[in-house]
Subunit: 106 residues, 5 copies
Amino acid sequence: MAFWGIEVKPSKPYIHRYDNERGRLHISQATLGSGSSTKKSKVQCNVGDKSPIYLCSLLPEILETCTLNLEFEEEEDEVTFSVIGPHSVHLSGFFYGETDQDKFGD
Amino acid sequence: MAFWGIEVKPSKPYIHRYDNERGRLHISQATLGSGSSTKKSKVQCNVGDKSPIYLCSLLPEILETCTLNLEFEEEEDEVTFSVIGPHSVHLSGFFYGETDQDKFGD
Amino acid sequence: MAFWGIEVKPSKPYIHRYDNERGRLHISQATLGSGSSTKKSKVQCNVGDKSPIYLCSLLPEILETCTLNLEFEEEEDEVTFSVIGPHSVHLSGFFYGETDQDKFGD
Amino acid sequence: MAFWGIEVKPSKPYIHRYDNERGRLHISQATLGSGSSTKKSKVQCNVGDKSPIYLCSLLPEILETCTLNLEFEEEEDEVTFSVIGPHSVHLSGFFYGETDQDKFGD
Amino acid sequence: MAFWGIEVKPSKPYIHRYDNERGRLHISQATLGSGSSTKKSKVQCNVGDKSPIYLCSLLPEILETCTLNLEFEEEEDEVTFSVIGPHSVHLSGFFYGETDQDKFGD
């Protein structure tokens, strides 16, 4: 397992691509970045050409952090994380690393 | 594993049917959709003809996201997700994919 | 796995009994039922003759849903869920179903 | 697995000792006890002679319940749970029971 | 498994180093330390020379505790936890201990 963390900034989507060595991505937590705006920030996820889905909605000074339990193992599709709102959002979690199946095949 | 996400809209229930290839569905998170109403939205689940059960209740500007840990593997019954309230709710999670049991039988 | 959901109503405790076929019960979520009272509702659990334990406390218009992670596999004791407060509470989760141990013995 | 639940009262610490038969203890939830004080209650944990650590902080009428995910398998040390604040706190979870390792050795 | 808990104080980062005997570290919970300031405290994590990531943000008298689900098994890199804000933050979780792989090699 290896720690994973990114800061997704407004109007700067982050593209995640799967690779065998790092393995499946588990996202555990979302936390609001710094800034003085009182407006909410939502994290949105696009997988390939599917419609966008909100993963969480964080509220400054009310709810600035939340647990997530999401797994990404899309071998073909790109996964895009973006933020809707004035604050950036820090996402953290971990890679599972190479599974036995990866090492030894099916 | 494959990412799963839907937006359940008021008065537009979403019907989920199990299939072996996608496998068991894990629902991890619920997040309030956009909109200006200050009224709460509840997600309700009907499995077959059993009575409806609230899965979560989200409050605009107070609690707009929550973790879930629900699993659906109903081979016979339809599972219907619906929203009670003015806001849509985005549900996200993942499919476990085919298990060994599916591939090789009992 | 099979979805499990009940609505525990004030002064109407719900008695859960273990059976091999459904297997262990996992309770994942508690959500406040409908109603206009602003008073809190707590879910209480009695296992056999042990003293009652609060499992969660939900606050109307403030915190109406919460994650739980409780497991029940009591083969001898009855497990009683009851609500203290004016609102009913919806509990949801799943049964693990028959384990190999149940099928083939120790 | 067997349900576990205690009410930790102010100035009445609870001492937990590991035993092979019950096995590892998983603590899943903390919920504020009854009472009218508006002051917070924190749950504190001392393992052996290590410094005390806060496990959670509950706020009356704001946040009266929270999920935990803590495991205790200390074979030598006593584990002491205590409450700092006017309200008692109900802790709930489960024992894993005897593992194969316990039954058959390393 | 063995309980793990630290108090990370403002301007006193805590450095975590992996060792085979204790094994992988799971962090389950963050709770605000004592103090009268009404300002938030964020927990930040630096892994090796990667950019810092916020793990959570706690708000006095509003949200003083939150669940985490983070795993640390970095064999080369140091992992540094620090607090941004006036309150210390208590982190708790557990070590998985030596895995079979550690004992018997690949």
